[in-house]
């Protein structure tokens, strides 16, 4: 595979290889020299059209730990803000010899388009409301690391599924890896064709919680309220927020995940966010190893 555009493109073997490789590379963070020479002389461009310091930093750290040269090309302060098209930007990066482009863009499919215009590898770091493959991979990695398996794992994904690239990537990847996904949201925040997705759907969080090994809370933006997706923050939080009481109804070894940034008091209470069963900071740490694995597997070979 030359690009990582969608988790739907990964076979079970390929996805497992990425997780296994990440597990080996996780050790690098504990060493005195946190660097491998593997991608010396390779150039990785972080092309970020949306502000996302955490994702960009994670990719940057991953590339640097593999000794790649990293160029951060953000929409602000570059020719992008002067109206240069994505195609022209792609051709510019191509001319500069980028071996890989990590792209974050507000338009669904931007990574697919970019892959048409550059010879190097394209890594989708989030395209609109489509996918965010490395987030799903690091989520799967974190689940496997914490719970020891993915096959048969019961994962509830809760929140704004309709607008979530994290949810789309996770449904595809977790299904491929043998987990059972249940999407939980008010009907307004679910896609109309969700019944055709390879997962269960519920409008009732309390019914799903006791049957879940993992509960993944998604960020819900308050502006959705203005578009009438739900009546009020309070009502959303009451029905779909995860608080200490609901945490108590989950199986004792079940974990709580969140792709960040969290909106405390909306989808997750501070008590849950700070609980040892919440894996948010682990997810961030695992993100670096996981992205190292992806960069290595895409760029490390011939």
């Amino acid at each position: 595979m030359r690009h990582l555009l969608s988790t739907g493109d990964l076979s079970r073997d390929e996805a497992t290889l990425i997780l296994d490789t990440a597990a080996e590379l996780a050790q690098v963070g504990d060493r005195s020299v946190k660097k491998l020479p593997t991608l010396r002389g390779r150039t990785v461009v972080n092309l970020f059209y949306e502000d996302s310091t955490r994702t960009r930093t994670s990719f940057e750290l991953a590339a640097k730990r593999l000794s790649a040269d990293v160029i951060n090309f953000s929409a602000k302060g570059s020719s992008v803000s002067k109206g240069e098209s994505l195609k022209d930007t792609a051709l510019t990066l191509q001319a500069m010899g980028a071996d890989a482009v990590v792209i974050r863009h507000s338009a669904s499919g931007a990574a697919h388009r970019l892959a048409h215009w550059v010879d190097g590898s394209v890594l989708n770091a989030g395209d609109g409301t489509h996918e965010h493959p490395t987030q799903a991979l690091l989520d799967a990695y974190t689940m496997r690391d914490r719970l020891g398996r993915l096959d048969g794992l019961r994962v509830a994904v809760v929140g704004d599924i309709l607008h979530s690239r994290v949810a789309r990537s996770n449904v595809l990847l977790l299904t491929t890896l043998g987990a059972h996904v249940t999407l939980v949201a008010p009907p307004t925040l679910l896609p109309v064709s969700v019944h055709t997705w390879p997962c269960e759907v519920s409008y009732d969080l309390d019914e799903v919680l006791p049957k879940s090994d993992v509960v993944m809370m998604l960020r819900v933006q308050a502006e959705r309220m203005r578009d009438s997706f739900f009546p009020s923050v309070r009502e959303y939080s009451r029905n779909y927020g995860l608080d200490g009481e609901r945490l108590g109804r989950m199986p004792s070894d079940a974990i709580v995940m969140h792709p960040g940034p969290m909106v405390r008091g909306m989808e997750i209470s501070a008590e849950v966010a700070d609980s040892p069963r919440c894996t948010v900071t682990e997810q961030v740490a695992n993100g670096v190893s996981l992205r190292m694995a992806v960069l290595y597997l895409l760029l490390g070979g011939s």
Binding site: L36, T38, L298, L299, G301
Partner: protein, 224 residues
């Protein structure tokens, strides 16, 4: 992103599936011949264990690091022998060198082997690298680079089961099970019961690998 997994097929020998028990005489595929059998491998390892103890003055500071895949069981066997001779517990582990290889761009990305550094680390230890075959020397070069990122050993030594010659770098082994003069048209394959179901060192014709550039550096089985 399809990575190669090191499998037996990759040794280029086409050995049929081994029986679970270790046979007395090696199961030799057509066109190859056994240059060491199980007993000879055992004797070579025992001798190397004695030499390590001698050279390191009792082996007190020794850490054995096997290079995946077949260096790892060899390091374990050496550790057991040293323990038996000297009643001394020898820290041993594994050191994967994939990320340090100089030929990564010649083949699809490879799956990684395990790196397991024994508790206590490598600082001030006498690290003995263990591998099955010493060939071009490029694997050892990569291992030395990897070691440098993991700590600062007092000294680094190299033990190999077979030295088949044809060095491409100024590297030599401190402990050699068997010196085996070979031609570049031959391949050397080490089979170990832990990974392959039997112990043997086989010599056969080299097979060009699909997708691989014709370079000796690409053949892991003869690359220590």
């Amino acid at each position: 992103m399809r990575a190669r997994k090191p499998t037996r097929g990759e040794t280029g020998t086409g050995v049929p599936a081994p029986s679970p028990e270790v046979p007395e005489t090696p199961d030799v595929p057509e066109g190859t011949r056994a240059v060491l059998d199980g007993n000879e491998i055992n004797r070579a390892l025992t001798r190397i264990a004695h030499e390590v103890l001698e050279r390191t003055k009792g082996g007190e500071h020794v850490t054995l690091l096997g290079i995946p895949s077949r260096g790892v069981p060899l390091a374990e066997r050496l550790a057991r022998r040293i323990e038996r001779v000297e009643d001394l517990s020898v820290p041993h582990g594994s050191l994967d060198i994939t990320m340090y290889r100089d030929d990564l761009h010649l083949a699809p990305a490879r799956a990684l082997g395990r790196t397991a550094i024994p508790a206590g680390g490598l600082d001030d230890r006498v690290v003995v690298l263990v591998d099955d075959v010493l060939f071009s020397g490029r694997t050892v070069r990569a291992a030395l680079d990897a070691l440098g990122d993991l700590g600062r050993p007092r000294a680094v030594q190299l033990a190999v089961l077979v030295d088949r010659g044809h060095r491409e770098l100024p590297i030599r082994a401190d402990y050699v099970g068997k010196n085996l003069p070979t031609s570049l048209r031959e391949s050397v394959t080490v089979l170990l019961s832990e990974t392959d179901g039997q112990d043997a060192v086989l010599l056969g014709p080299s097979k060009p690998r699909s997708g691989a550039v014709a370079t000796t550096a690409d053949t892991k089985e003869g690359d220590a």
